[in-house]
Amino acid sequence: MSASPKAIAGYDVERVRRDFPILTRLIHGKPLVFLDSAASSQRPASVIAAVDEYETLHHANVHRGVYQLSQEATDLFERARERVRGFVNARSTREVIFTRGTTEAINLVAQSFGRPRLKAGDEILLTHLEHHANIVPWQLVAEQTGAVVKAVPMDRRGVVDVADVAAYLNERTRIVACAQVSNALGTVLPVREIVKLAHARGAVVLIDGAQAVPHQKVDFKALDCDFYAFSAHKMYGPTGIGCLIGRESLLESMPPWQGGGDMILTVSFAKTTFNTLPFKFEAGTPNISGAVGMAAAVDYIESIGIEHIHAHEQRLLAIATEKMLKVPGLTIIGTAPDKASVISFTLDGVHPHDLGTILDSEGVAVRTGHHCAMPVMEFFDIPATARASFACYSRESDIDALVAALHKAREVFS
């Protein structure tokens, strides 16, 4: 038996937990053990307060009024953009487009970049482990253009091999779209290598960073991909806001996606001239309080340090993997050597849906289902899995509560 990995020096999880008011809640009379941060993480008080302060004191529409409040709102909104730019190291705020989240960001690229350029027979290359959000937008644009969607396979561990990516790339590949971290399996993909290979073939690369941004340092410039999509609500921010980071030269060359206010310079019935980046892609009144909250979430992550969060979560991943594998009949789905703190699993004789209900009765919140990755479920020939995922506020006793609840589930179904 290997010893539990040592606590990360200086990481005081109890202190971190005090930042998250919701963690004091009781569920069915038991303390909440929240293990579904991969679906949506909880928010710290500082994010809640930033949104509240904006709504209470600074709200007006942005980019239009000359009055004080509108300027305050515009300042906060644009400062949020700069904050997010720094967080992922984009070259300029012209590369930072606010969207509703990852899903909208990917749809934007599929429709604004893909649709005008793709021709019949062109290929869009995905991987087998993608979230539906990184599959369906490409299928839609493929239908519209006659392009073909292909998926690089994975192995039984849930690993996508760079050599397979190379083998699937060809002169018809126009777009490569893949997750940096799989939400269903936890696999960390070798995205830097994938970008290099794709670029060598002249393909443009979109990275779905929804599950990466909360767990590891992301550097858009160093990654050298063309588009990067992520959501605030998985990184301690609000729902309904996220970002598309895009290479400026590409964004410049793309037509607007949606039309409306804010994305124009001049409108007449004869001709409309579009606004400059990033506003060209932000039609209509944006989610201002969401952006403010997203910036506060960046502040929060940086106040702890993403590398500290990463180390803490990796430690929990190791402990949880070891403890869970001791539960008879438990199988972990997704055993890549490089994983984020996501553990998908099945328990013999207990359907994941029943498992979810039994764990909930113990206050333990896990996700059950196909995790919006039906091709992954099909690959492993299972209808669903249960999934536990960890965040900065997860602690070792959460794992013990999970394991105890798993034993209870086995008892109910014995």
Partner: protein, 147 residues
Amino acid sequence: MDLKDLYREVILDHNKSPRQFGRLDPSDSSADGHNPLCGDRLHLTLRLDGDRVSDLKFEGKGCAISVASASMMCEAVKGKSREQVAHLFHEIHEVLTRHDAPVPEDLGKLAALSGVREFPVRVKCASLAWHTLNAALERSDSTVQTE
């Protein structure tokens, strides 16, 4: 919330050893049920003798609630007339969805399903088989979804 209310003995038993499990061949009608949220799928086949469901079987994969519900349903419905089945469907629907609905005495074993109403997200699991039965009776071959 009491788990024992949901996972009653009879439900666990029918989940473990489903009755009327399999496929009737030939059959007079069939239907597929699918709950995309949890991946539950079942295939129902039945034989009719005039107005009566003379036999029916189900197969598929699902959570304990959906399997037990299908199993108990097949057992209860076998030999019943369309009108009796419709009545039973109505009673089950009430019991599953109305918090204060009294549990009719004539439900027998099926009364065990009443525990599901304390778990609103699981109601769809329990009702999948019943909707599938309705579809088969309407001779529709389309896939039923509870979503």
